[in-house]
Each structure stands twice: as structure tokens, then as C-alpha cells.
Symmetry: D2
Amino acid sequence: MSSPRRIGVAILGYAFMGKSHSHAFKSMPHFFYPPPAIPELVVIYGRTEEKVREAAENYGFKKHVTDWRKAVNDPEVEVVDNCLPNNMHMEPTLEAIEKGKNVLCEKPLARNSGEAKILRDAARKARVKTMVAFNYRFVPAVQLARNIVQSGMLGRIYHFRARYLQDWLVDPNAPLTWRLRKEDAGSGPLGDLGSHIIDLGRFIVGEFKSVMGVVKTFIGERPLPGNPAKKDRVTVDDAFEAVVELENGAIGTLEASRFATGRKNYNNFEVNGEKGSIEFNLERLNELRVYLKEWERGSIGGWNTVLVTEKTHPYIKAYWPPGHIIGWEHTFINEVYHFIKAVVQDEGIAPLGATFEDGYRNNVIMDAILKSAEDGKKVTIEF
Amino acid sequence: MSSPRRIGVAILGYAFMGKSHSHAFKSMPHFFYPPPAIPELVVIYGRTEEKVREAAENYGFKKHVTDWRKAVNDPEVEVVDNCLPNNMHMEPTLEAIEKGKNVLCEKPLARNSGEAKILRDAARKARVKTMVAFNYRFVPAVQLARNIVQSGMLGRIYHFRARYLQDWLVDPNAPLTWRLRKEDAGSGPLGDLGSHIIDLGRFIVGEFKSVMGVVKTFIGERPLPGNPAKKDRVTVDDAFEAVVELENGAIGTLEASRFATGRKNYNNFEVNGEKGSIEFNLERLNELRVYLKEWERGSIGGWNTVLVTEKTHPYIKAYWPPGHIIGWEHTFINEVYHFIKAVVQDEGIAPLGATFEDGYRNNVIMDAILKSAEDGKKVTIEF
Amino acid sequence: MSSPRRIGVAILGYAFMGKSHSHAFKSMPHFFYPPPAIPELVVIYGRTEEKVREAAENYGFKKHVTDWRKAVNDPEVEVVDNCLPNNMHMEPTLEAIEKGKNVLCEKPLARNSGEAKILRDAARKARVKTMVAFNYRFVPAVQLARNIVQSGMLGRIYHFRARYLQDWLVDPNAPLTWRLRKEDAGSGPLGDLGSHIIDLGRFIVGEFKSVMGVVKTFIGERPLPGNPAKKDRVTVDDAFEAVVELENGAIGTLEASRFATGRKNYNNFEVNGEKGSIEFNLERLNELRVYLKEWERGSIGGWNTVLVTEKTHPYIKAYWPPGHIIGWEHTFINEVYHFIKAVVQDEGIAPLGATFEDGYRNNVIMDAILKSAEDGKKVTIEF
Amino acid sequence: MSSPRRIGVAILGYAFMGKSHSHAFKSMPHFFYPPPAIPELVVIYGRTEEKVREAAENYGFKKHVTDWRKAVNDPEVEVVDNCLPNNMHMEPTLEAIEKGKNVLCEKPLARNSGEAKILRDAARKARVKTMVAFNYRFVPAVQLARNIVQSGMLGRIYHFRARYLQDWLVDPNAPLTWRLRKEDAGSGPLGDLGSHIIDLGRFIVGEFKSVMGVVKTFIGERPLPGNPAKKDRVTVDDAFEAVVELENGAIGTLEASRFATGRKNYNNFEVNGEKGSIEFNLERLNELRVYLKEWERGSIGGWNTVLVTEKTHPYIKAYWPPGHIIGWEHTFINEVYHFIKAVVQDEGIAPLGATFEDGYRNNVIMDAILKSAEDGKKVTIEF
């Protein structure tokens, strides 16, 4: 047996996403055998020397840099994984594409659809692979959900309702991080959480046609991270609510909030079709609830809690026997597997992975919700 | 001990609601002891002689009539309970009020806010008790929810989201009953189901300020009840979706559908406040899910599934020991107890019971949703 | 249409069971139409004049007596419903049978198998109907469970495990009622709760073959009901645990306790068969959880939460539309319907109702558990 | 900062446990920062050259061997992790201890208490660290459960009931692997699954005092793994059931089965105390259900589903933000962290880790269950 191909990876950002992505690159070949290639953690970028050095050591990178250009231009690097804040998605990603690097970029693709369009256009022309890291597409239960809907098992779809709720901002003294500044993040839970459920709606059910929405900032000022005595303005939403119409005639709602006390990571969606329904909750990501109308005939109609840990379920063969659940971080392992495989074997990112076109459309829909909230009117989606 | 007072009751309508209301009047004194008065089932009205006679016998009424005026004007009758279709709410209710009868009227109060206003105005001037039969106010878990919110235990409220989902119309051959005709019902699930969750929002959290919504009819034509070979147009909505703003600053969503396969009677709402949250599901009406942020301090924060069957819970003393659950029909027993007590002891219908003012406001909000759906614009609520 | 037959009922005991049984007799004809007969509440017996008079008024009995013989011998009475404590099951029941009255007797049939045998033998010779009030046989979900098992849908049965847990004795100051005295109750949760799950095992799966068990009294002394300053000995078990073997080769466990904090009325059983499994919990009595192995083939294997409120489910046609749940007291309404129908139409009590033979066998199994606990040895069941 | 210490690891066995353990050694330093030492995967042992070579490559071992003595005696190795079948626990473990290697040994410690005693005695005399890999002690929710019980928050404990159910043998054509042969495995689910729940009972509640049990083999013969046409005898149990008494006066049940259709990895236990209760289910290992009686005072008594993903919960700081769940394999990462830390910092294995004394007692209790099943008598535990 010949030695497997190795592929050099640069990760931009060492925080939450840097930690989960780097672990995924390392763990992927342990589970997927033979792996499409063995990722090598070449270089990690961060602004603060001390912290990025520590991260490099902790995660096992060969090098660390405080200038992202060095990471992007490193000749050992074939894959750039952009885990930076939203205001840093565009420049490094464009540069990486230009330098012929394959790019995995965190979601949302950009702060707004204008930026996203530039990235989408660059990706169209590039000869490299580009993917937006909508990792929840790689939850086994989510892919099972998609298979069920796309196979027609639920028939015509009537409703899609999704909410992504967290509660880490209910404390008015929670600090004003970059996620609460429009210039850095673009938007609040709309971009952070809403982008996920918009993507899931498109992935599982289909394209959106119109939106009507409201956004709201409940706590207008918050203490600065480094200087709690001083407060500054929160310039993004704390929550949004929207009514949606889909191209296929379904109607529903989208919601996201960081003020839903007790909801920690409650990404919950439901699809109702003429022959059945499905429901998912990220806090129990190993489960998919399924209802099939045909079961009613035997007097045993009901919501079936499928434990998505069988060999026949997406990605599970790579892991453990039935009932031995996987965790949130496995979404990244599956995602990295998909991306590296696409790069090495020159396969399509779509339909399982989110392309930059998907990322762009996602930003368009979010812009439409903001526009609707501003004007108090329904907005028709135009890509 | 002196004999308890007896109070004569007329029920208009013998179908679903007639069956549940008449059972409630009979069962109330069995559970509430001593009862405020013992209801006597004097007369029941229905259009079809044979059927109403059978119902009278079955439910234990002394008389039955096929002219509602006879029931309303019967001298033995002190209470008129109007369980007729929505297009028959106005005339008999107005006549009953005029004749000095106390009136319990099924929800929604009217087909639209214009009719509802006439009824509200009549009730204001009347010396009798009038109440709209929003029976879910009388679920013990719902009153517990209200107590929790109104006591301030959840602090400032950020979100109210409610959905009332059923699936009995997914079959395109389900017949075109009165509930699917605008002239009879006023609206579809908006009036039938949406009116309930609008009322619960007002009851538990507070007044609505604005709405944005869409309504949709998925199946445009259906077979006639008596003549399945012939089809006619469905003239009401099959589902609606709305974004709402409340007076207190909370935002949320309202949804109702008869096309949510697998959801049988899924009246589900959630309230998120700064100190905690609550969630309810009518299919498990003996339970209330409660989250209190303070529990997090002991590392045992979580959603508490309260089994609302303790002596300390609303109405439960009348029934069984802990863990011995009550059913859907008990909402009517509690409701009838509240109403009869108000009549006999001259107490207020509010705040636990829904007044005709509540019924009117309910219709105003539903009209606003329809208006918003028509115009694609946010509508500010004005009473 | 001729007038329905009327049937006179005497109830012995006005407390918890008297309240639920009398309500069931009154409500039955409201739901089951046409009813087999309309029960008339002729006479209620209790020891305390004042209390039994109040109960008679409250529940709607024509007469009340403080001598049970008068009730049993009342010529208007065709049905005697014995809701007295366990030490009063034998004498009144024997007398009623002798006087040609049909008897519904609360469970357990007797304090021990010796007494139960006398009752069983009397019932065998009688020309009247006799039934033990194991009301959980009349939960729609329980009958659905039985139908599933008996139809062979689960194949060969491997396991039956059942626990009936409550927590009302965890307070050491809870008073020493009749239920805690061996001479009155025969046993503790073994007879009160264990008898139910033994009956459900026999009803759903089949006969027991052997038992091994322990019983335990956690709090040895308790204050007297009328005189809290004085304590006396608890002479029954507070909990029992048993391992069982069934005739069909299945093995499992039985448990009951009044010391399971947080379990209010947790009658929970599970059956595992080669093709599937079922699970039930009385605190959610409208639901049955079903697993069928064949669902695994479609990658949607899982535990199906059947909401047992469809027209096709046992007894539900008598009540409400799908999703409108029934309560604990409806088990009695169904039970009374079954019993009255058997009496009037001379039908068998078995297999849905528990015969005195079932009651006797139930007592034999409980005696075997006590014997095993005493000797520390396996006891083979012999009837 | 000085370079972290490195520690050489040998793993015996490359299958299910080899895969999960090797991943844990690699992932530990990614999450626990700074790590007590960085494990180096020195050598892996397996009987089949081709397979163990592939495993070495896949998991990242420097060497592979087909003679376990070479692994155990490798001078680079400080830690031997014995993941071999139960009949191979004794010899390599004894040799490793003798050669001064620290040993982590898979559970159950041995095939019977005789073997286990030899290992326990060897461990007592050794100067190295020895631990039995009861990994469920390292589920954060399990340690939270232990903290709750041990802190006295539940008061006096009345009940412990545990069941560990799987269903992978319901198919009569499932092959006769080593797990089904007494000479290799010692016992069936008793040793494989029962050992886990016995350990959890001891870990969370306390020592066992007596047992009464039955064991059963449902399918007596099965096809050979390599030759499905030929069948041979199953010589271990397919399921066991036991009643237990604990030293502290609690009573309960233990059960394990591979014939519980629909239960995939259902390790479910419940503890009832005078002030509260807890319940756990491994299929939802990020959750712990907690009931505290004091909550009843506020009318919000109930079972609290604690999502054990907060920074304040055991081990969670190493991972992700609230609501981002971990998987089954993280139990091994935590376990390896505990073991390596104990080795490097010379800390105690107990109380969080299972010592060889714990492993020995576990085997004694299992032998007692087998003895009780054979004799049909209660067996008092003697260590």
C-alpha cells in the first residue's frame, strides 16, 4: 500500500472555530479510512503572538504567524480555512483564491450580500475548491432529513419552521464583543444563527421566495470587553423574527435570538409535508423525529425518535456502534472529510457542501429580512 | 345545610362543543364541592329534530328545540351557552343578552371585528355576565404559566412564540364543511386555532402591538359534504404565519395550520424572559416546562417538566391525587365552574375568564393579520 | 326508540375510589351511545353519617347508609361496586354474590390468596357477573399494547419489566393510615401498586412462573392519623423489588415503591420482543411508545410515540377528536361500560376485564413475592 | 514555557476499544491545556499482521507488533492500555505491572473474581498506577450525578435501579463471536454491560450487600463467525435480572440484555432519595434528569433535564460552549486525562477512577449474581 497523500492546511483564527476546525483536520483520518488525504497542520494565524503560539503548540501546528498573508501565501499550504470574524472573511479569502489555494470559509460568507457577491464571483472564476462552512449540513440527522424530503417521502411540503435560540446575552453585563458590532459582524443572531437555519431550509426544502420580518435590540448598551466601566452601543440585532414563503409554495417562520433563556444551542426545525413530517433539535443532534402518515393505518402513527447512529446513516460507519452517540465537533470532522475529498479527488462541493453561491444567496436572504424590518413590508427575494 | 341553588342552562348546538359543554355542566358539581350552583340542563337547540332529540336524551336535557329563539327565551333558562358555528354567534347572543340571560359564547367571538364590536358593546351595557369560551385559559398548566409570568418570576419578557397545528385537512378529499367557508366561519385556522393562541398571548404575556403575516390556502377545492362527487371552493385560509410585536417590547411568532402532518392538537407556546422561560403543549396538557436561570447556579439548570397535578396547582384540588392526570374535557369543567360562580356570586369574569372585550380584541388582531397578508405590510393594532 | 334500560348501583365507600367510580357511572352514558344501560346511583355506603350524606349529595345518590348490608340488600340495586379497604373486600362481596348482585370489586381482590380463593370459588358458582376493578386494563394505550403483543407483532417476547413508583411516603411524618397496616391492607405498595403491574403483565404478556424478591420498610413508625403526637408501627412494606420468570420464557423485573421521590404515579412498563418493543407510562397515559424492528430497514427505526387518541384506538370513538387527550378518570368510564355491558348483555368479563380468577392469581403471585422475600429463595408460582 | 513531558503508550488490541482509546490519547492534549503530558502512540499489538499494520497507520502508531510481550516490554512505553478480550486481561496486565508499566485495563477486570483477585493483589504491591477502564465514570453527567448524591443533596437513598439494554443479538443468525463464549468472555451481558451498571452503582451510591438473580440464554446455538453453515453452543447468558440490597439500606434492580429490541445503548439508571432523585440515559449522555423535592414548594416541582454542557460541569471547560454536545468517545478523552495526570503527577486513581480493587469487587458481585441464579437463593456479598 502506498503512503497516503498529505495536504497542507492553514487556519486563520485560533479561537472557538480554530479549535474545532483544527481538531477536525487531525481526527478525520482516524475515522475515515482510507482518508482521501492526511491533513498537515502547517500554519495558524492570529493577531496576538502569545496566544497564537500557545494555540499552535496545543493544536499541533508547525508554525504560527501574526500576519495572515504569510499563512495564505505559505507554499506548503493547499487549503486555507478562514475562521476569522465576519469582517475578515473577504480579503484573506480573495487573496487565497487568487494564490490558488482551496478555501473553506466560515459562515456567514460575508457581512452583506454586496461583499458576498464579490466572493461568489471570485469563486466562480477560480480553479480551486471553495466552500462555506455551514457545518450543520454535516450532522448525520440533517442529511437523513434532507434525504427524506428530497426522496419525496413526505410528498408536497407545506411548512418549514426553524428557530435557532441561545441565551448568552440575557445578562445585560455581558461584554460588547465583535459579534455585537455591525462593522465587524454585519448583523447579530441573524448572521450568526439565522444564516444556519436559512441554509438548512435551502438545503433540505428549497429556495426562499419572500420574507417579512422584524429585528430587535433589547439591550442598547453594553460594557466594553477590556474596560467594563465603560459602555458602548450595541449596533446589531439581539433577535429577529420572520415569516417566509418558499418557491415550492410552503410557508413558515424563521427566528433567532440570544435572549431565549434556557435555550443553549437550540437549532430546531420542522418540515410538514402531505405524507409526513420531520423535526430536529441540535441539542439532541443524534436524533431525528420522523412522522409518516402511513403508520396511522396500523393504529401506530406517531413521531418516531430515530437515533441516527446506525451503520446505514450518513457518516456513521466512520464512528461507533449503534447508540454510541457523536458530538457537535463531529460535524466538522465530516465537513473536513467532504472538503478534502472534493479537493483531492476533484469532486463537486455541491450538493452536500455549501458553495459560495449558497453563501451569497444566504446573505441576500438576510439582507432582505433586514430590509423588510426597516420598511415594514414584504420583500421578494432576488438573487 | 340548605339545598344548593339550581341554575337553568340552554345549550345551542349539540355537536363537538355541545357534547363537551353539556358534560362539563353535569360534572362540575361532582368535583367542585360545594358547587356555586347546580346546573340544570333545561334545553338544547339544534337544526335537525332527530339529532337534537337524540342529543337531549344522551346528554340528559329536559327539552330540545329546533328554533334557537325558544331556547333563548325559555323562562327556566338563566344561562345560554352558544356553541353554534361562528356565523351564528351574533344574533342568538344579542337576543340572549337582551332577554337578561347570562351568555357563554364559543370562540372566536365573531367572524370579524365589526361583528365582535357590536357584541362587545352590547355586553358593556348589559347587566348579565358574558364570557367567551376560550377554554385553554382553564388548563391548570396555563394558569400556572400565567401566574409565573405575571408574578415577575421570569422578569422582562423578550419572546412569545406560539403555534397551533393540526393535520386533519392534509387529505385533499376531506369534505368542505362550514369551517372551510368564509361566510360561515369567517376564517380558517386563523379563527379556529389562531384565536386561541392570540388569546393565550394576551392572557399570559400582554397586549399585541403590531403584526405582519401571510395566509395560504393549499387545496383550493374540496368535495361537498353531502355530495362528494361535486367540489366547491375553499374560501378560508389553510394556514397562517405571523410575526408579532407586543406592547411590552417582546417579539415573536404566531402560526396555525391544518396541514401539519402528525400534529394532532399541537397548541404549543413558549415565553422567554430575562430570568426564565416556560413552554406548553396541549397534547401533554398536564405538563408545563419551566426554566429558571437561578437554577444554573447550582449546576442543575434545566427545563423542568412540571406535572401540574398537585393540590397546590389551579383547580387540581377538585380532582385526583398527584400524577393522576386530567383530560382535555376538564378545561370545560373548570370554565363552567368559573362562569357559574361569576353568575351566582356576581363576581368578575376577568381576569381569568375572557370577556367580550377580550373577544373583540382577539377579532381585531385576526383582522390585522388578514389585512397584513393582503397588503404585504406591517399593521399596527388599534382597538 | 324505546327508553334505555336502567340499572341500580350501590357503591361501598365514598373516598378516592367512591368519587371516581360514581363519576364513571354517571358519565358513561354521555359518551357511549347508545349505552348498554343507564346506571342509577341508588345508594352509597360509608361509616360516617355526615360524610356519606355529603358524598351522596355531591355525587347524586338517592340514598346513603352507614350499614353496608343495607346497601348490598337494597332491592333497587343490581350492581354492587365495592370500593372499601382491602379488609372489607371479602364479606360484603360474598354477601352481594349470595344475594344475586353483580359485583365490581376494587383491587387487590383480597389481602392474601387464602381470602382470594374463597372469593374466586364463590364467583365460580355464582350466576352473577363479578369483576376485579383493575382499571388500567381500560387505558386505551394499554389495550393497544395488548393488541400489539397478542397479535404477534413483536414476535417472541424476551422481557417484561414494570415499575409502579410513587413518593407520598417520603415524608416521615405522613400519617399511619389503613394502607400502612397489614390487618387492613394486607400489604403496602405490593398490594396497592404491585397488584396493578402484575395484572398488566398477565394481561399483556402472559402468566408468571417464578419470582424472587425483597420487600423493605424504610420508616418503621409513623404518627397516628388522629393523634400526631403518638406513633405506631408500620406493618406493611414501603417498597418491593422482584425478579420474575414468565411461562413463555421471558424474564424481567417488578418494582413498586412509595419512596421514589418525584415519581407521582409512575406506572411504567416495557415489553421487548424479537420484532419490536413497547413502553408505557401512566403519567402520560394517552401515549404508547412502540418500536418495530422492520422500520430499521428504511433507516428510520426508532421509538414511535403513538398519541392514542385516534378513532381507531380502543374506546376513543366515545370521546374527542385526535389530540384531545383523556384523563385518568376515563379508565373508570371505560371499565364501567365494559362491566355494565357484560351484565346487561350477558357477555364475558374476560378477556378484557379481570375476573375473580385473575384476582386470585394476582394474590397468589403477591404471596409468592412475600414468601421469597422471607426465605431468600426463588418461589415457583402454583395456582 | 518548557516543552511538555511526553509519555509513551502501548495499546493492546486494535478493534472497537483500540480505536476509541487511541483517539482519546491523541485528542486529550488538544482539549486539556496544558496537558499533564503528551501521549505518544508508540506501539499497538494485534494478532493479525495485516490488520494491526493498517490500524497502526490509521491511528498513527510508530510500531505494530503481533506479540503482546514486545509491546509490554518496549522501553519507550510507560503506559500499557489493555483493550484485549477478557481472557487476555490477566497475563499481559500482570506482566506489564511486573515490568513497571502503568496499566489501564478494559473492563471487566477479569473473567471471574478468582482472576480479578490475582490482579488486585498484584496492583496492591505495585509501584505503578493501575486503573480499570470503566469509562462511564467519566461522562460529565455521571460525575454530576455522583456529586449530587455524595453531597447529600438527595438525603438518604432509598432506591438504585439500573438497566443496560442493547439489541444486537435479537437476530438468531448473529455470529458466535468471542463475546458469546464463556472461556473468552467469562459471561455475556452480565460482564459486558452489567459490570458497567454495577460500577456506576458503587461509584454513585455505595457498596452492594446482597443479590438475587436469574440469567438466561434465549438462543442456544449460533453460526460460527468464519463458517456460518456450522453452529456451535452459546455458553454465556443473553440477559440477566437481579434484585439488590445496598449497604446503606437502599434496594433496587439491575438488568442487562442484548435482546431488548430498540434499545441500542440504553444504560439507564435512577437513584431515589428522600430529598430528590436523578436519572440518566447513555443514549442522551449530555443530559441528567434531576428532581429536587424543595422545588415542589414553589409549585414548580418537576424533573429537570439538565443539559450538562456548562463550564461549571465536570470536564466541560475543555470542550465547547453551552449546548454544543459531546459524544460517547469523550468519555475516553476524560478517562485518559485522568489516568495520565495520575501517572505523571503521582495522584490517586480513586475516587474518580476505578482501581483494581473496584474491578475485583465488581467481579465478586457478578459471581454472586451467577451463583444466585444457579441456586435460586439470595447471596450475600463478601469481598
